[in-house]
Amino acid sequence: MYNKNFILKLIAFTALFFILDFCISKFLLNGLEKYYGLNDDTEIVLVGHSHLMLGVDKRKMERELGVGVSKYTREGVNVTDRKIMTQQVLRKNKKINTLIYGIDAWTFTSEGLSNNSHKLFYPFLNDSVIDSYVSKNSDLSEYLSKKIIKTSRYDELLISSSFRGYLGKWTNLKFGKVDVENLRANIRNGDYRKIENTDYNIEVLRETLDLLAKKNIRVILLYVPTIVLLTKVQEPAYNETIALFDAFSKEFDNVEFLNLQEPWSKEYDLFYDPIHLNPEGQSVITEKLIHYLKISEK
């Protein structure tokens, strides 16, 4: 009797833990989907990494264009991750007609982004395609722990994003300006990310564009500016990357290449750091994007 009581308490404690785990994860997932606009049937979807996240103001676009905009952007995602994100958006969103895909000079570079980026998709393990992607890229104990304890799929940045989703906040908080002198010193020391186009990454982008072409979705390859000093120092590789984007826009009828690198890449006051825009920069680039969308509509 004495032990039975103890076992019952133990079971009740464990059950309560899993119930709370389920409720909290559900709450966080809902907020996260709101933040990324995954459950909204919007006409325009932005897919990309932090450049696009900080470079484009979703709210301003919605106000000026009068349509719904989803901004599915994650820090550090490579082209493979962006393909997964695109597939996820296509499964979730049925009204999408324009996908703005964030690109830059390092789009086809493998080095510099996280090698364990599958971890970014932990919150979406209930999606069978993402589940299969994560299980292939993670070890069994890691995968099982994330499957069983749902709250372990989140970290403080995802929790913060989830709350931003509930609060409806997409503002760029990267106030401040880039330290150009420091950047020049780093470039002199060779301390900067190199542009290296790999065949594998080029093929992954082609597959993503092909997928979108089949769905008849208009794609805008949007180059959010990065500081000119970084691209100038690697001019041949930069030109080669730009040529690849041009080639994609010619290869696919539904693809357009919008290069906003010039002249803003020389306006250092618009940058928070060498590759990210501050709120002032975001405002300028968003206006240009809105203008482009309005013009091309006509």
Partner: protein, 380 residues
């Protein structure tokens, strides 16, 4: 070896010792100290010779405290190994509670603070005084949560199995003096040095000058135990000198009969806060990669406040670190005041509230836990 070679070079001797390419097991010093403690206890006649090799082997390499302590005495653990242990509900509950709290301190607090501390201490020359102060304060909580977290997990795991290991931490940052700090920090090591180094040298029952020597030796050995690096030696010596200053201060207070002010709450708070600050400053030498870095950090803390403050990888992580430190302190104040018990045995808190507390800790581990860093004390 670098230090010895450096001395040889200064002395003009053309001798250079080379490194031995050996891989040492993790927690080597903990194994050594435990075995040494047994040998000395047998030598002094404090414990009987253990003839059972399996029991002795289990004592030296008892897995819950295998790599980072607490350093157990044969009189405690070896005796317990002789008894039969069956499952006990009380042991399971108490052990689990302690294990969860230890895990929370380690993976939620210590590992998160480590991100900021590692970044700043990797290149301290790049950061200003305020950033270095925050990094040092963070390190004070990181090393405490890291090591006491491990100790709590070791004690908790052993308790689940029915063994009672010795307490290793007793709210060290609530110490009101340096001597009090060493009664609360890494208690098993401090008492080890007390019993096997300080007392054999004569302890406090010797002439004053010899007592000074004994204290100096103990802290020097303590510094050396943490690593053959000048930073650890200076850290140990710094604590020795703080110990001396404190004893001289107490003598002065007694002489001028101003001990009455000791009773006031403000005075006590002032003492706790000042001991904490001093201990934090000493951590600079413990954490810095070199003495040069430690001196540079000291200079910047006191003089260079020009550069902008570094908030770390993100504002969210930085704020969360501060919230977690406050969370820890609030809980520790309740332990200090006796509202909740330090080792979770006789808590005054309602059982239902306790359950909510442990659910919060478990969900906190799940949501905010990090798994990338190893224990700081694995290196010792």
């Amino acid at each position: 070896m670098d230090n010895i070679n450096g001395f040889m070079a200064i002395a003009g001797a053309n001798i250079k010792f080379s490194y031995l390419e050996l891989i040492l097991p993790v927690g080597i010093s903990f194994f050594t100290f435990q075995a040494l403690s047994y040998s000395l206890d047998v030598f002094y006649g404090n414990t009987k010779i253990e003839n059972n090799i399996v029991r002795f082997g289990t004592f030296v390499s008892f897995f819950p405290q295998l790599v980072a302590g607490p350093i157990e005495r044969s009189s405690n653990l070896l005796e317990q190994l002789k008894n039969k242990h069956s499952f006990s509900k009380e042991n399971f509950i108490e052990g689990s509670k302690l294990f969860i709290w230890g895990l929370f301190k380690k993976v939620v607090i210590a590992d998160r603070l480590a991100i900021y501390v590692d970044k700043v201490y990797e290149h301290p020359e790049l950061y200003s005084g305020p950033t270095l102060i925050v990094a040092t304060l963070f390190f004070a909580f990181q090393i405490y949560c890291d090591f006491s977290g491990y100790s709590d997990m070791a004690i908790g795991a052993a308790r689940i199995l029915g063994f009672k290991l010795m307490q290793n931490f007793n709210l060290p940052y609530f110490a009101s003096s340096i001597s009090d700090f060493w009664k609360r920090w890494h208690i098993s090591l401090s008492s080890w040095f007390g019993d096997y180094v300080y007392k054999p040298l004569g302890g406090s029952r010797v002439k004053y000058i010899k007592w000074l020597r004994n204290i100096l030796v103990v802290f020097l050995v303590s510094g050396f135990w943490h690593g053959a690096n000048w930073t650890f030696i200076i850290w140990g010596l710094l604590h020795a000198f703080l110990y001396f200053f404190e004893s001289w201060g107490d003598l002065l207070l007694q002489k001028f009969r101003i001990l009455k002010i000791k009773r006031t709450v403000i005075y006590k708070f002032f003492k706790i806060a000042s001991v904490f600050m001093i201990v934090c400053y000493a951590w600079v030498y413990f954490r810095a990669s070199s003495v040069r870095d430690a001196f540079s950090i000291t200079r910047k803390i006191f003089i260079d406040w020009s550069d902008k403050f570094y908030i770390g990888s993100s504002m969210v992580t930085f704020l969360l670190s501060i919230v977690l430190i406050i969370f820890l302190l609030v809980f520790q104040i309740s332990q200090y005041k006796g509202i909740s018990s330090l080792y979770f045995s006789r808590s005054k808190i309602n059982p239902w509230l306790q359950m909510i507390w442990y659910l919060t800790l478990l969900l906190g581990i799940s949501l905010l836990g990090m798994s990338s860093n190893s224990f700081i004390y694995f290196q010792f």
